[in-house]
Assembly symmetry: C2
Homo-oligomer: 595 residues x 2
Amino acid sequence: MKTALMRHLPILTWGRVYNRTALSNDLMAALIVTIMLIPQSLAYALLAGLPPEAGLYASIAPIMLYAVFGTSRALAVGPVAVVSLMTAAALSNIVEQGTMGYAVAALSLAALSGIILLAMGLFRLGFVANFLSHPVIAGFITASGIIIAASQLKHILGINAEGHNLFELVMSLGEHLPETNWVTAIIGVLATGFLFWVRKGLKPLLKRFGLSDALTGVLVKTGPVVVVAATTISVWAFGLADRGVKIVGAVPQSLPPLTLPSFSPDLLGQLLVPAFLISIIGFVESISVAQTLAAKKRQRIDPDQELIGLGAANVGAALTGGFPVTGGFSRSVVNFDAGAETPAAGAFTAIGLMIAALALTPLIYFLPKATLAATIIVAVLSLVDFSILKRSWDYSKADFSAVLATIVITLGFGVEAGVSAGVGLSILLHLYKSSKPHIAEVGQIAGTEHYRNILRHDVITDPRIVSLRVDESLYFANARYLEDQIQDRVAGDKAVRHVILQCSAINDIDFSALESLEAINSRLHEMNVKLHLSEVKGPVMDRLKRAHFLSELTGEVFLSQFAADRALSKSAVVPGDIEAIEGVTEGTEPANGQA
Amino acid sequence: MKTALMRHLPILTWGRVYNRTALSNDLMAALIVTIMLIPQSLAYALLAGLPPEAGLYASIAPIMLYAVFGTSRALAVGPVAVVSLMTAAALSNIVEQGTMGYAVAALSLAALSGIILLAMGLFRLGFVANFLSHPVIAGFITASGIIIAASQLKHILGINAEGHNLFELVMSLGEHLPETNWVTAIIGVLATGFLFWVRKGLKPLLKRFGLSDALTGVLVKTGPVVVVAATTISVWAFGLADRGVKIVGAVPQSLPPLTLPSFSPDLLGQLLVPAFLISIIGFVESISVAQTLAAKKRQRIDPDQELIGLGAANVGAALTGGFPVTGGFSRSVVNFDAGAETPAAGAFTAIGLMIAALALTPLIYFLPKATLAATIIVAVLSLVDFSILKRSWDYSKADFSAVLATIVITLGFGVEAGVSAGVGLSILLHLYKSSKPHIAEVGQIAGTEHYRNILRHDVITDPRIVSLRVDESLYFANARYLEDQIQDRVAGDKAVRHVILQCSAINDIDFSALESLEAINSRLHEMNVKLHLSEVKGPVMDRLKRAHFLSELTGEVFLSQFAADRALSKSAVVPGDIEAIEGVTEGTEPANGQA
């Protein structure tokens, strides 16, 4: 009982040993993260199609709930780029942006996503996330980064443009380009350029001035705050809002409101699939950040408990005016680097953001949307990494095609189609690969008890015996292939009397494969050939025994391939008996009796 | 060029050695099969919702085309029960039965199915059929048999009833039961009873009279012909058609007509998925019959060429007034047992059926539909086999649940839903199983170079070394699980300095797993632990080399687990050195430092 409570409430573990050092470290980290999160939260709300305050709200309750339920010490939960994009994509098909219904739908999406994550955590279904292969994730994030950047260009240029894939976005941008507001464009381009320079050029510069790494890091992170302040003041001072620069405007000064998601079955039905995809993508992003940071301090992450932590965070977001959230990469790394020791740092960050929501919102009245767009563009372009194409091409063409398909379909048809196609293709390619397993005909290496591929090694074989090693577990996708291969090998070769399957690489035999083995056994029997097995693993053997296959087997089960060969053939040679070897090899032509 | 031609036209192979013995054997087999096929063809046309002559037409051109392109010597192609049911199910949603459009849609379905099969054959995509696992096929055929039998009860009772799943059928039969035509019901019940008796009771009886097995077999097969003759004559002689007995009626006396499928993109679009499912199910049924019969004579079946043979047969059916066909089990076995030596037997059967279509159709004017329904019911109930539930339950709960889901969903929601759900569930269960592979921590068995599971064997371990054997190929579905397991094992155990992955059971490492290995490597590095690999298979090693993973690896790659242990630990003991063993075991507590 107590262990279960400790397991599901990690706060009970770290809370009991919390001390003054941890407190001061956590407070310091919280201050840095708060400053960084303010512009980021506003920007991701913009990306999700919501009013800017929603971004602040989505960062407060979720952080606190994760601090109670999550297992990572350094993870910072809140709105992130890809999930915000997916939110916008999911909602735009259903409700119109800017309406009250849109905000309610965003709450509902967060609620659904939270319930899905909680359910997956309680039923320990975290393995579902494993179906997202690395190539699919890498391709998806790169493509999403491009779409996000393209979607923000309209704010940089001060025009209207719509679209949920690259094609639509580019067409729409092209159409509206003549309406560009030049004041907005100047602010946007300058802000973007400055932020890029902060990322790439400022760091070496500061280091040349002899600043410490830590200080350099902090200064670089304040780049967005500087841009926000500078552009807000410019717009206010020069009255640029009257020159057509779109600004954030009035943001309510309040704590996160209590909100309720919609209970309309119709709306929830439409949001179910997007909520599922958002949950999975968010979980994968979050868990890999958490694992990476935990490893640095030899800490443990419990994936099932992480699902509960993220689920609670999303339900929290739904009840406090937010939208779907997850553990973000950049904010978590900042939190970790700033010295956060426990999830209490997250709680302090939440308090910082509450103060911002209460007191600082009037200051961002004149903040241009172009500035927020610039911070988004600079953040997401660092996610774009086409090197995955080259690396996967070098490693495996199957993985490469999964990457390429994910990128192309995400760019061309949007995020949901892209990730679904990527997952589907990965599964198909995996099944395809294992559906034609490597099957080696093996023979004895003279002087040893080893059996190796007859095509690669100089081995001793007996024309009456065919020994096959299957380098794959046997299951439905390859069972029939094995039938075909054995029939092909034996049908034309009248000399064959025994087939030995060396099962050393077979980790499992499912029911389909069992039926295939039975079919192989009885078909070989029709040809007057016996089927034997060797080197069957313990768990596989237990199964076969239960199925009575062994009583039908025309041959025997041998402990080793050598034992099988020795029992069935006079040509199997005990190591060292060199005369016998020479006597035999003469008589053993490669038994390849294809007509 | 010549080989390619021989490969794609198997007739060139057997045709050149055709002789008089083969001819007389083939003619005899053709006679028997023709007699058996006449009632069967009419009945399956009825099942597919088509006029009876369509069954004859669907048996003529397809048999001939398969004789040219197919690789099985004994396979008999034509309408079969399950495919006819699927045809009816596919068409009923789109066009009304009995209309001209229905027949055209059936042609189009055959054409699409033929094109799909041809394409799969040309692009060697036969592996797609492997996704239909044995449990799914067994469950599907059993459930289809029940639905087919239920769907024929209306003909036995002389009432109207509709439905494409068991629930609908039973409800509809119950509703119309009061309308039962008693004359029809008597004919139907007697015919069904007689046919069952022929199957079960006649054979032992004839044998008791001392008849040979062969003759017994032939007499049993003529059962349907006897019933057809007896009921037809009764209906004619006693004028039962006027008493409400539904009869086949006028059937055109003609050779198969030349027909064209529809080219409406709308219709073809609707038929695409059903055509795909029909192709796959038909191919699987056909290839397993072909393999079984080929094995008896040590002949070879080329699955890709079989696709071409079946594809040609279906295109032929589409052009000659037929509907989707495949290699049938019962007719092929009869053909084989009757001594058919080459596909020429099929061609002769086609000629026999042509004569029947030209000359014999007036004789079946008074044939009651109830008789045809009786032959269908008796044929399909032999397909129903619930023992698969017991057998799969005993063997594996995962396979059992695939069987159960397929049966329940086929019965409850129809054939397409059933087979799709079965395939989907099989794939998910397979991925789930391999997503949590068996990972054993291993240690050295004293006095040997063998390393076994520390939980099952008394082994020597070194607290500074964790040796893990993963019993599964590494790919996206289990890559992250491995990350978690290693992190869990190492994070809490401060003594660990080395992790060795014993890769003997790893047949493949995909790109996701490679990234996971990289993550494991760098996370272990953060914990000041080195990662080593041992017993990496050749092809896996080649891949890893290409990926530069080996240059990042903090540890080494060892040829054997023993070599790794020996290099890293002073406690790895050379076999025979018994003193050393004793000196070490004292110091090696199970290194299970979980907090």
